[in-house]
């Protein structure tokens, strides 16, 4: 999957992205890290095929299954946890009996098998996000796109979901592009961090994080982790200073 020289201008004249180049290789966990308004969400939406670039082009290898996890859980309140997770398969015309094992496996993957019959209203914020992830994974996507999925959650829930996402990443051999504005989250999760600057949105640094998985609590306090946090942090500050100078 590749974005080459992609630019995106909105109808109001805002240049959201300029000359963005990004190649996603299978098995990568890429974080798009940047301040608000740097176009990282716009880039993710372009990857998802939601909207088309004004300039440049997107190239997919074949016709891959994509999944998207929004910042909000985006669950249909009238469908149960099972019903929400089943939806993507239902839309493809798969019957309930056939889909059941896959849906239940996806729910078990996020630790929510027991809650299949609950309605979203009954769940906590973290649980809702887990359902949202299960729904994204039920189609076995070639590429999972996540738009600040944990930003609205409290620190403790966020930490647990980070751990669990990495477990899923390894077990299911996922390819993930993850948008975040947290340096720590990006260093903990990904093996490649793309730092973005705003106005116009562009990639200013490409930082590989070569620490091996599985990563656990020990990694969070390791020297490698710290070093990468400092690197990413500096790149981010440089990007923000540059943007500030430009105005």
């Amino acid at each position: 999957m590749r974005l080459s020289h992609v630019g995106k201008a909105f109808a109001n004249g805002t240049l959201a992205l300029r000359d963005l180049n990004l190649a996603v290789r299978p098995g990568e966990f890429i974080s798009l890290l940047g301040p608000s308004g740097c176009g990282k969400s716009t880039a993710l939406r372009l990857l998802a095929g939601l909207g088309s670039p004004t300039t440049g082009e997107l190239a997919w290898a074949g016709d891959p299954t994509l999944s998207f996890v929004f910042q909000e859980p985006t669950l249909m309140p009238w469908r149960t946890v099972f019903g929400n997770t089943y939806l993507p398969l239902r839309l493809r015309g798969m019957g309930k009996a056939e889909a059941r094992p896959r849906v239940m496996a996806a729910l078990a993957g996020v630790g929510l098998a027991k809650f299949a019959d609950a309605y979203p209203r009954q769940l906590s914020g973290g649980m809702k996000m887990r359902v949202s992830i299960a729904r994204a994974l039920v189609t076995n996507p070639a590429l999972l796109l996540m738009d600040e999925p944990f930003a609205a959650l409290d620190e403790i829930t966020r930490g647990r979901l980070n751990d669990d996402l990495l477990t899923l990443y390894q077990r299911e051999r996922l390819t993930i592009v993850f948008v975040t504005h947290s340096v720590f989250e990006s260093v903990f999760l990904s093996n490649r961090i793309m730092v973005m600057a705003a106005r116009p949105g562009r990639i200013v640094a490409d930082i590989p994080v070569d620490a091996p998985y599985p990563r656990d609590r020990e990694y969070r306090t390791s020297e490698t982790y710290n070093r990468h946090c400092r690197l990413a942090s500096e790149a981010l500050h440089a990007a923000m200073a540059e943007a500030a100078d430009g105005h």
Partner: protein, 280 residues
């Protein structure tokens, strides 16, 4: 994710229909008020010696209701029939139009103003014309009642169909959902609470529409609905029977409202905030 989630236990439940003290009082207090009013009314009529052709007491009205039950219940049936058919037509017509409007902004823009014009023109003013053009009286009554009732269903459902969260639209697009799938899996269930709100209003309006149309039809609707009975009793200065007819109409309205509220609760209590009860 190896960790099984062990979170809110027990899971917050659904509001259930419980008969607690609060609910008993909620039923008992208005009943008590009603009884006090009725007793005072009866007492006033007797002590003051008010003649029956000015204000009959509730006992007198009840007696009249019982003695004329055969005629009145027949008329009630006619009115209820028109009301329910009009409500059904309002659901089909209003809901169907709303779905059509949701297909394209331009269809909505072209036709919505006319729906508004139909709604704001007083039914009493249109009814005589309708009665001239539609020979079959029951059909004419039905049309009048429908005209009043369909608008709340149309406008509420249209609002509901258009109030879908953009993330959901993106989600459906990502899953390459077809147009009918977006309607069936997303827009229609999302519009349900709005539709039910409109339905509750339409229930009362279809009864009003039916009665107004009957009044306008007057003697043309010979021997038919309750409104006609009230009109007829008025000509004969049969005040108790007028009250009896009125009481039946009110009770019908209350019953329709109760049934529609029940339906709404049944469909929404598991997921919608309006029907959910919070524990504090």
């Amino acid at each position: 994710m190896a960790t099984e989630v062990a979170l809110p236990e027990p899971l917050p439940g659904f509001p259930r229909f419980r008969l607690g003290w609060g609910r008993v009082l909620r039923l008992a207090l208005p009943l008590l008020v009603g009884i006090v009013v009725l007793v005072s009314w009866e007492a006033l009529v007797r002590i003051q010696g008010i003649p029956v052709y000015v204000l009959p007491g509730p006992l007198r009205i009840a007696a009249r209701l019982a003695s004329d039950w055969d005629t009145l219940s027949g008329s009630l049936l006619v009115t209820v029939r028109v009301t329910l058919l009009a409500l059904l037509a309002a659901v089909i017509g209003g809901g169907g139009l709303a779905i059509l409007f949701a297909q394209s902004k331009w269809i909505e823009a072209s036709f919505f103003p006319y729906a508004v014009i139909l709604q704001v023109t007083p039914i009493v003013a249109i009814a005589p014309l309708i009665l001239i053009y539609i020979r079959d009286t029951e059909l004419a009554l039905l049309f009048c009642a429908w005209l009043v009732a369909f608008f709340p269903v149309l406008s509420n459902t249209t609002l509901g169909l258009n109030s879908v969260d953009h993330n959901f639209i993106d989600l459906m697009q990502m899953y390459r959902a077809k147009r009918w799938q977006v309607l069936w899996y997303l827009r229609l269930p999302g519009a349900l609470p709005y539709f039910l709100g409109g339905l509750k209003i339409a229930g009362g309006l279809s009864l009003i529409g039916a009665v107004v149309a009957e009044f306008t039809a007057g003697t043309a609707a010979a021997g038919s609905g309750l409104a006609y009975r009230i009109l007829e009793s008025g000509y004969r200065l049969d005040i108790p029977r007028m009250y009896a007819g009125l009481a039946l109409l009110s009770m019908t309205g209350v019953l329709i409202f109760t049934l529609l509220s029940g339906l709404s609760w049944l469909l929404l209590h598991k997921w919608h905030e309006s029907a959910a009860r919070r524990e504090r």
